[in-house]
């Protein structure tokens, strides 16, 4: 094998440093953007090289260390990288989609004041994400884990003069930190638990090999995995920690595509896949994950119904799709989860970039007409397919993919997930049912956004409506590539039941070395006949079609239907529109009490009690002095009398006492 894994995160790091330090001097957007994109592309090439190397190789696990990070007694942490089928998939997705989005950003961010800053952050993000997926021990992963949080903070807060952007950035980081708290607790418990059995390690391979030392299904492993799952919830925006992701749409659209759809938010899924050995040993945790995933999927989908901001719809859709991935992980369908992660990266990145293209065009038009309407509000769009044919077609294809229409990528991955929830030994019909409903809702609100944006009558302000341009090549090329991938990307994972050409489930076979052992040991498998599987597939296609048809009926056929519906159920609409008031609930439950406690501890306890005691001691001393000072009259006679009295008393004591 090649000893160049470290190059993969190294290239973007170099790009980030160069752009960050010199970007202001370089000024030329082509150089800055070109450098950033090129660095990503180099890293993609190295990733490809490693991927094909791994494919050709018999051995499926390669580790490479470039030095020791911390070495303190039995805690030995290396700057180590790990290449196995799982990380190989991830680096391809991250560098591949990353390169496309970098390219897209050159066009999208054109003319922005902080152009160099943006590319520096974006490269830094790629670096952190690659650390996350390549780390061979939990701590190197944690660098990436927090590093992507940092970059997400920086990029969401990119328009830092907007208060909402600053708030969203802070919220994203803090909520992620809650997850990180879980990650750290899990890691420390695991380190101690394995250590007390004599194995002090944070290396994933060694953890996997020694996991059997822990009692399967025991309290310890359940606690450890639940802690890790909390971490995953934070990073991957699952209930109850999802609230940061919709707000994160304050960032520029390429950021939403790269970070908040394709890569960073899937880190939680990846982490569970990476530690599948541990999770497989904890059925309670798995069940929790499946149910949390299902709940998130349906909950977020419901909010997606009522949003008018195109990016927010996509954000809730992302949360919902992440819920699907967690469902997969929870029922033991690790391969399906990772598969969906990959296909989702394609179609969701494409959707986000498409929405970005739309916003770009709308913004241009409004700018031209000197209006400051909201370029992201779908109520101002409609009929855009005339103006932006490429954007329209790619968006359309991706909607088909996410709705799970046959032979688009989402079809294969989503159906595999649903099949596993139905048939797995860890599955549950409840989860399946929720998943199926969520799939229907997904199809509905995605096509709702499609129809509202690209079809129907154009509702843009008349002064601006004829100035909406199709975006340039740097924007449309990534769109087309991603739409292509969203179309055919699923073909590498054709399920056995419909594999008429006997190509086999390539994706499944590829990841088998990572997952099959844990699945076999813990008896995790999907069992059922091919006919049931096919029946379920047909059912889910029908469900998807029903969703699409619903959207068509409400937003194409009867454009006044949604208005009537909301008029009929004003309360429901209000709740959904306001996102079930979860943010307000959290403010009420956590944020405000914390502030109040902080204020109380400061003004009440610190200043009054502690300083009260301290100053009180001072006052007592002062008071005693103030009383005693009157004995110092200054008159010689008083002192003399006192002296004589003193002498008499002392002598008297010794003579008569």
């Amino acid at each position: 094998m090649y000893n160049n894994l470290w190059l993969i995160p190294f290239f973007p790091l170099v790009g980030s440093i160069i752009n960050g330090l010199l970007g202001k001097k370089i000024k030329n957007e082509k150089v800055i953007g070109g450098l950033g994109t090129l660095m990503m592309f180099f890293s993609f090439l190295v990733a490809c090289q490693n991927f094909f190397g791994l494919r050709a190789s018999e051995q499926k696990v390669f580790q490479e260390s470039i030095g020791s990070w911390m070495s303190v007694g039995n805690l030995q942490i290396d700057w180590g990288f790990l290449l196995d089928p799982l990380s190989a998939v991830m680096i391809l997705v991250v560098t591949g989609v990353g390169t496309l989005i970098h390219l897209y950003s050159i066009g999208y961010m054109h003319g922005e004041e902080g152009f160099y800053r943006f590319f520096s952050y974006l490269n830094l993000f790629a670096c952190a994400m690659l650390f996350l997926v390549l780390g061979n021990n939990a701590l190197v992963m944690f660098i990436g884990w927090e590093g992507v949080g940092l970059c997400s903070y920086l990029l969401i807060g990119y328009y830092f003069e907007k208060k909402s952007a600053g708030d969203a950035a802070k919220k994203a980081f803090v909520v992620n930190r809650i997850g990180d708290f879980g990650f750290l607790c899990g890691l420390l418990t695991l380190f101690w638990a394995l250590g007390s059995k004599g194995v002090w390690t944070m290396n994933f391979i060694e953890i996997g090999e020694n996991a059997h030392l822990l009692e399967s299904g025991g309290v310890l492993i359940t606690v450890v995995t639940l802690c890790f799952f909390l971490g995953a919830c934070g990073k991957s925006a699952q209930l109850p920690l999802y609230t940061w992701l919709p707000d994160a749409m304050e960032g520029p659209t390429p950021v939403s595509a790269l970070i908040h759809a394709a890569t960073m938010v899937t880190a939680g899924v990846y982490m569970i896949g990476r530690m599948n050995v541990l999770f497989a040993m904890a059925p309670t945790t798995m069940m929790t994950i499946a149910f949390v995933g299902a709940a998130t999927a349906i909950f977020a989908a419901s909010i997606g119904f009522a949003q008018n901001d195109i990016k927010r719809v996509l954000a809730y859709s992302t949360v919902s799709q992440l819920g699907f991935m967690f469902m997969a992980m929870g029922v033991g369908a690790f391969t399906a989860g990772i598969f969906h992660l990959m296909t989702h990266a394609f179609f969701k990145a494409c959707l986000f970039l498409g929405s970005g293209s739309v916003i770009h065009g709308m913004h241009h038009a409004y700018h031209h007409a000197h209006l400051d309407d909201d370029p992201q509000d779908m109520r101002n769009m409609g009929g855009l397919r005339k103006f932006m044919p490429i954007t329209h077609w790619t968006y359309f294809i991706s909607c088909l993919a996410i709705a799970g229409m046959p032979f688009f990528s989402g079809f294969f991955s989503k159906d595999e997930i649903l099949w596993w929830t139905f048939a797995s030994t860890r599955g549950s019909y409840v989860v399946y049912g929720i998943g199926a409903i969520a799939a229907c809702m997904t199809a509905f609100y995605m096509f709702r956004s499609l129809f509202m944006t690209f079809y129907g009558e154009q509702k843009t302000d008349a002064r601006a409506k004829d100035h909406i341009p199709e975006s340039g090549l740097t924007i449309t090329i990534p769109l087309m590539v991603l739409a292509g991938l969203a179309t055919v990307g699923g073909l590498i994972g054709i399920p056995h039941a419909i594999d008429i050409f006997h190509v086999g489930n390539l994706f499944h076979d590829w990841l088998a070395p990572v997952f099959s052992q844990a699945q076999q040991l813990n008896v995790i498998e999907a069992h059922g006949s091919a006919s049931v599987e096919i029946a379920l597939m047909i059912l889910s296609v029908l469900i998807g079609l029903a969703g699409i048809a619903g959207a068509f009926m409400m937003y194409m056929k009867n454009p006044e239907a949604p208005g009537k519906f909301t008029a009929k159920f004003p309360g429901l609409h209000k709740i959904v529109f306001n996102k079930w008031y979860v943010d307000e609930l959290y403010d009420f439950l956590f944020v405000n009490p914390c502030k109040r406690i902080g204020t109380f501890l400061w003004r009440g306890f610190d200043v009054k009690v502690v300083d009260g005691v301290v100053n009180g001691v001072g006052w007592v001393a002062k008071g005693i002095g103030a009383g005693l000072k009157y004995t110092q009259s200054g008159y010689l006679h008083n002192y003399a009398v006192a002296m004589v009295v003193g002498v008499v008393v002392i002598v008297g004591y010794y003579v008569f006492g």
């Binding site: 110092q632 200054g634 008159y635 004589v644």
Partner: protein, 100 residues
């Protein structure tokens, strides 16, 4: 025969007179003289006891006391002159600035 008791009695009387003077008089110079009386009463005790026990230490001490008393007289009188210049009085009741 005058015994050591007589000397001690005399010195006690002198000491009491001195103390009484210090406590009752207001004129700083008189107080100062009373202090001298007290010192000399102590000197007398020293010498009497020295003679009585046949040890010269007491007499040597008296020289020290006299030296110190002389120095004290010099300093004390100088202080009083300084004070008189300031206040035109040497009444100790006017000497009460050293207080709270």
């Amino acid at each position: 025969m005058i015994s050591v008791h007589h000397y001690l009695l005399l010195s006690a009387i002198l000491f009491c007179i001195g103390t009484f003077g210090v406590l009752t008089r207001k004129n700083a110079i008189v107080i100062f003289m009373c202090i001298e009386v007290m010192l000399n009463s102590v000197n007398l005790t020293f010498i009497a006891l020295s003679r009585h026990v046949g040890n010269m230490d007491g007499q040597i001490f008296v020289f020290f006391v006299m030296t110190v008393a002389a120095a004290e007289a010099a300093v004390g009188l100088a202080l009083m002159i300084a004070f008189f210049r300031n206040r035109e009085s040497i009444d100790v009741d006017d000497f009460n600035m050293l207080k709270w």
